[in-house]
Amino acid sequence: MTLATVDYLVLALYFAFVIGIGWLLKKKVSTSSDFLTSGRSLPVWITSLAFIATNLGAQEVIGMCGSGAKYGIMQMHFYWLGAIPAMLFVGLFMMPFYYGSRARSVPEYLKLRFDEKTRTFNAVSFAVMTIFSSGVSMHVLGKLFQLVLGWNYLRSVLLAAAIVLVYTTLGGLTSAIYNEVLQFFLIVLGFAPLSILAVMKAGGWSGIQQNLAPKWTHAWQYMGNAADNPMGSDMFSVVVGLGFVLSFGYWCTNFLVVQRAMAADSMSSARRTPIIAAFPKMFMPLIVILPGIAALALAKMHSGYALPMLDGKLDADMVMISLMGKFYPAGLLGVGITALMASFMSGMAGNVTAFNTVWTYDIYQSHIRKGAPDSHYLMVGRISTLVGTLLSVGAAWVAHFYKNIMDLLQLVFGVVNAPLFATFLLGMFWLRATGLGAFAGLVSGTAAGLLTLALTMAEDKGGWIANLHTFRSTMAQNFWIAMVSFAVCFVVTVLLSIVGKAKPLSELKGLVWGATERPRTAAGEPWHKRPVPLALVALGICIAINIWLW
């Protein structure tokens, strides 16, 4: 695949705009709070779109399309069963504490609610995780561009990283968020034609259904038995492992996304950020997963399209780009490549801006240098943006040498996020939960997750100590690891909290359900400005989609 002059023009126009936005926002940054938390001043439609965009990294977009071809329509549960309920939950029930506590980050909430050691544990594991996920995402993109476009791996990785660095260092979180909105539009408009063209070619949805076995096009019907569906998972592990533990763990506790809502201009906006985001989010699978399913049908139809294979197995990461090669002419191909670049940048900027906030406030300010003037922390914020970017490049470089490190990291992310959700659930809704309980729960939950990974295998992965059980897919293994680490964290936290001494009620004000005034919306606000009715509408639509594709 080669790009024409017009494609480079499209790409250059995009680069000019993202840097321009960073440049325009530079004047607005005068304090560390402006730089790291946007001074809590952004309108709700912007924070909502940024909330989705920051999760739409290149790995997500490329991976979801490939998984559509690998697991069929069941992959959409990552959205409808996973993301949507979790996003509604975080908006309705958790945002009052995140936003209301005036914490500047998720680890800082843990410090207010529990203690310094719980915060530090979370801050460090989160910081390491963000560096690796932006590094891995960078690696995926660099490899793809090298393979398909023949670009130099190192040069394309460095170019993309440099542009992200320029606009995040100039305008901080606001610049990252504004660009994420632009990137979100570009991702939607750049990938939607691919979905439309691929589905049309396959004869519409009915054509896809005719060409594929029913297990590929029904979301729930074949979930009774793990052996019957492409994902190799039964209903329990999908609903509990993915729907409850993994998704709530990610969307409710990951500072990367929560930070976007915390930048909103009011409590009502902060609560509505994930809820409004749920509306476009539930239709994203039509753009990112559906083309993968269409690719599967096209390959069966002898239409001239063949699925990309590697060593006799589906090469999932190549599905999206192989479709683009067949359906996009020069011109729109440039837009598609730009959209891939945009998704990479929004993911990376999300990681870098979350990293610099956690590093500056939760590690540097609380352990290395307390009580310095604000201008010092603004400088630290800027420098840690640079350091974070360099570390991500380093992580990409590591991933470049060890092919399997990426699969491993995916599993490790599950181990980090899942127990954290138990900690937050107990911290926000149970007055008795103690700092010692939370800390011990987090450590033992994380350890239990890693141990499960070391004792089981799936697709020849894991099982370093022994193999007690073999899962049908890495996906199924992932679900079970998450459930184990969640359960262990939950039980340990509860047990240690019961024997320990809880904080007095006065110290928990604004931090825990039962010690906090419920946020009220002003009387006479229309329904779309009130979180609860808005969430109910979103939930209703989501349930309807599931019934339709049962």
Partner: protein
């Protein structure tokens, strides 16, 4: 804070113009599996309309 719809609107209008112009000037540039459709022209129109809509919203707020 200035209105993001202004730069975003400008960007997508620009993108729409490039794609439409390319689709009209080189109508024979087609992709292998979408050879019967002028993909550039139609997606250019869609992006241009989206960009203009953003500009209209930004302009309406200002006046």
């Amino acid at each position: 804070m200035w209105d993001l719809r202004l730069p975003a609107g400008l960007y997508f209008t620009g993108l729409g113009i490039i794609l439409c112009a390319y689709g009209l000037l080189f109508p024979n540039v087609r992709a292998q599996m979408a050879a019967d459709i002028n993909v550039n022209l139609y997606s250019g129109i869609a992006m241009g309309v989206f960009g203009l809509a953003l500009l209209a919203l930004a302009w309406r707020k200002r006046s």
